[in-house]
Amino acid sequence: MAAVDLNTVRSTIEGRLATELALSPAIPVIFHNQPYTPTPSNSWVQCLVSFGNNNYLTMGGTSGSSNSVIGVVVINVFTAKGVGPGANLTIGKRVRDLYNRILVSGVHFDPPTGPEVVANPSPEGFFQTQVRLTFETFEDL
């Protein structure tokens, strides 16, 4: 029993995506606080993991008690502009299937939202969609 290791949770989420997108056809994936210069017309994925609400689950003090740790994963999928959404949604499906209702290493993933088209892509010059999902893990003290 110990406080939740946020980096373990983060690496569980990020590692799952990195492993999938390393498979053919491989797609570059970047995470929070990493520099990246995208190549025009080449697909790439950005994964942003954030921790949010923490709630009491059970009675108790700093031992023998449990908390709920909830977070959100935002995954931006960038593909070439002006050639339709097909390639983007293909990647979006890979991403979505990776987390949809999955329980892995104690992290429960909720059904994803998206891929939703982003009206104003950032950075510009790509067709961008976004997949978002919440996750929950339990902290046993």
Partner: protein, 138 residues
Amino acid sequence: MAFYRGQQGSVKFDDAGSSAATITSTRSWSMTVEKESLDTTALGATYRANVGGLISGSGTCEVLYTASSADETNAFIEMVNTANDEGAALFELYMDTTGTKKISFDGVITSAEYSATVGEIEVITLNFVTNGAITLDI
């Protein structure tokens, strides 16, 4: 002035009625202690008179399901299904986990609601009544 929050509470239980152990996944508990009132109004009186009668208690406890069988929690959530229950199970409901402020009594678990809802943690709600004396040490 010291105030307390719900997470400072706890529940201990022993189905054998001897040494209560903590129910580790307790989310909440509540208890009502009631005293019957006996009408002793004299014939022709203007005001009604009452005296206290029998005292009893009942309450509810919510437990998160953990599939644990290593502690008293499993006995607690299955107690309702026990045959020949003599009401000897020991309950201790604490207002403060680190202290001794508690309500203790022997009792019977009268119902258990086991539930599972998609997207939510599975919860078991147990209802109980007291058997005999209730000790308020709060």
